[in-house]
């Protein structure tokens, strides 16, 4: 177990290095730099030069990267020149929002997907399955922003149940906070629910054809028992994998949802920084997302081993 954990931590280092190095390289190569953006419409050669020098943009790339890396490993992610705010501060401000959106969306998605996926697989081809499949295909074919606009129109403008945009912090007013997350989380959750339902259903249909399932039935076990205790775990692999990918991705922010619902999440922070060539912010967010991805996928790998103990002991081929 300890080797397992140590192996995973060791793999975090090269991933962090590769991701931050490449993103630094590519972002720096893009035309335009922060000095040009900040100098504004009345830029003069002097102001651009002064800004460039202050931002150390006249130094060679490797030097700047190593400089950043050196500070980053000590926890100093630098200060954004555009806003004069510390990157760590900005991430810390926005992380709870991104986390809350992601958590509520996944819970919503799974609450729908798991029961419907199981039920669809159990009676594959039946009315529920056909309806659920149809609904899933429908949702998958609609882009997120269309869903968002329709939801805003229905719930906020017509029915006035929840606010259209904006956000109240959890500690200020939990009820308002949940209300403000309802629509954005639902927008994300619909797409995830459709995907999870399809994946779970597919894997479970295959599992239900196994002989040991027939044996469990022959032993006289009730259906719900077979479905939940014997069939669900081995059918969860694909679902779990995609869940992990989605969580990692959402930790990097959900740009469209954040923009439409005016949620100050990590997604907007990153995209705005890329467009403004604000390297320190880009690097800070990228580093953070890389860590998050590795950790989340590490968690998923652990879960594989929990769901199927044989994996834990799998050995490499010679």
């Amino acid at each position: 177990m300890l080797t397992f954990v140590r192996g995973k931590v060791l793999h975090l280092v090269p991933v962090m290095f590769a991701v931050t190095c490449f993103s630094f390289l590519l972002t720096s190569l893009l035309p335009g730099d922060a000095a040009v953006v900040m100098a504004g419409p009345n830029a003069t050669a002097e102001s651009v030069a002064a800004l460039r020098s202050g931002l150390k943009l006249d130094q060679p790339l490797p030097v700047r990267y190593v400089d950043w890396l050196g500070k980053a490993v000590r926890g100093d992610l630098g200060t954004s020149p555009r806003s004069q705010t510390r990157v760590l501060e900005s991430i810390r401000e926005r992380l709870p929002i991104t986390l809350e959106l992601l958590l509520i969306a996944q819970v919503m998605g799974l609450l729908v997907a798991v029961p419907i996926g199981i039920a669809s697989a159990y009676r594959a081809g039946g009315i529920l399955d056909q309806a659920a499949s149809g609904a899933a295909f429908a949702v998958l074919a609609i882009p997120g922003f269309v869903v968002a606009i329709v939801l805003i129109y229905l719930f906020a403008v017509q029915m006035d149940l929840v606010p259209a945009t904006g956000y109240t912090p959890l500690l200020t007013n939990p009820l308002e906070n949940l209300r403000s997350f309802f629509l954005p989380a639902l927008t994300v959750a619909l797409g995830e629910a459709a995907a999870y339902t399809r994946l779970l259903r597919s894997d479970m249909i295959a599992t239900l054809q196994e002989d040991y399932i027939a044996m469990a039935r022959a032993k006289g076990l009730p259906t719900w028992h077979i479905l939940l205790r014997h069939a669900l775990k081995p059918s969860s692999f694909t679902l779990l994998t995609v869940l992990g990918i989605n969580i990692g991705r959402l930790l990097g922010g959900a740009l469209i949802v954040e923009t439409i619902f005016a949620l100050p999440g990590i997604g907007r922070l990153l995209v705005e920084a890329i467009y403004a060539r604000d390297l320190v912010v880009v690097q800070g967010v990228v580093a953070f997302v890389a860590v998050a991805f590795v950790l989340v996928n590490f968690g998923v790998d652990l879960l594989y081993a929990v769901l199927d103990p044989r994996i834990r002991h799998g050995r490499a081929l010679a």
Binding site: P31, A124, R198, I213, V286, A290
Partner: protein, 299 residues
């Protein structure tokens, strides 16, 4: 996950047959059903129109008529016009080329490369697995927007490049799905038995593992086709896809978004075509799968 190894299972377990006097399953054709054929017909139509678009005598998809923006159906414009007065039907036909190419080709790219990598990682384990997993994690964590901006700025906006980038970005997901399923499969009895019987690793991967991960990978792949097509639409909205005035269905939906309260059909008509195509694709694949998987649920 189904185990396609009849030799082992017949001798293995005492099984009560599903039903004593069960009929033989009807011919494959009949099991496909009307909805399958309808879906195939739609997909065939769309593909045909996409391929033959230059040869069909359609209106110029780029000819604007600013006096008839968001116009309703008329003899000259069978499906009306878009936000700049261009013929909707013609644009849908030309847009199909982009949407279908991007949707299918990029998914195929991600699927083939990702599955190979994932299978290898899940089967071989050890250091190769570590390298693959680390690389996939790095790719997933990398800011896609930076990559896309860099590629389109330095290489170009040609459709093959868009396909390449979206496909490339899809590789890690397929790799993870393939690996997850391979991990579970590799421990199964029929694999161990095959190895004990002296089958080469390659044969095991090809004949035992691969057929059994086809189902989850393909199911995932169908989701990815929809995602890829929508992603291209979002990219087009951000200005990162093929340059205007050319437009995919996704791009048409995205562009019409600002005018949903003035002329909603400009977004909704391409959205409907898009929807029907994804629906048909998933439905057809689902029916096919049902027929191919001969065995029934055991409860």
């Amino acid at each position: 996950m189904a185990a396609h190894s009849p030799d082992l299972t017949t001798e293995a377990i005492i099984v009560a047959p599903a039903a004593a006097g069960v009929d033989r399953p009807p011919r494959a054709w009949h099991r496909l059903g009307a909805s399958f054929w309808l879906s195939v017909a739609w997909l065939a139509l769309v593909t045909l129109v996409a391929v033959a678009a230059p040869a069909l005598h359609l209106a110029d998809p780029n000819l604007q008529d600013l006096t008839d923006r968001g116009g309703s159906a008329s003899p000259q414009h069978l499906l009306g016009t878009d936000g700049l007065g261009r013929d909707m039907l013609s644009r849908l036909a030309w847009g199909a080329r982009i949407s279908l190419t991007v949707g299918c080709a990029s998914t195929l790219l991600g699927m083939v490369v990702g599955t190979l990598l994932g299978m290898t990682a899940g089967y071989v384990r050890g250091r190769p697995e570590g390298v693959v997993v680390a690389t996939m994690d790095a790719l997933l964590a990398f800011p896609a927007l930076v990559l896309i901006l860099a590629v389109t700025t330095f290489i170009g906006h040609d459709i093959s490049i868009i396909v390449g980038v979206i496909g490339f970005l899809g590789i890690p997901a397929f790799a993870r799905v393939a690996r997850a399923n391979t991990l579970a499969l590799a421990q199964r009895e029929f694999v161990l038995a095959a190895r004990a019987m002296g089958a080469s690793e390659l044969r095991i991967i090809g004949l035992e593992i691969l057929p059994n991960i086809v189902a989850p990978v393909l199911t995932f792949g169908l989701l990815v086709v929809a995602v890829a097509m929508i992603a291209e639409g979002t990219l087009a909205f951000l200005g990162l896809s093929v340059p205007p005035p050319a437009a995919s269905w996704g791009a048409m939906v995205a562009e019409g978004r600002g005018d949903l309260d003035i002329w909603p059909q400009v977004s909704l008509i391409p959205a409907t075509v898009f929807f029907l195509t994804i629906f048909a694709l998933n439905l057809a694949a689902d029916r096919l799968r049902r027929v191919v998987e001969v065995r029934e649920s055991r409860i």
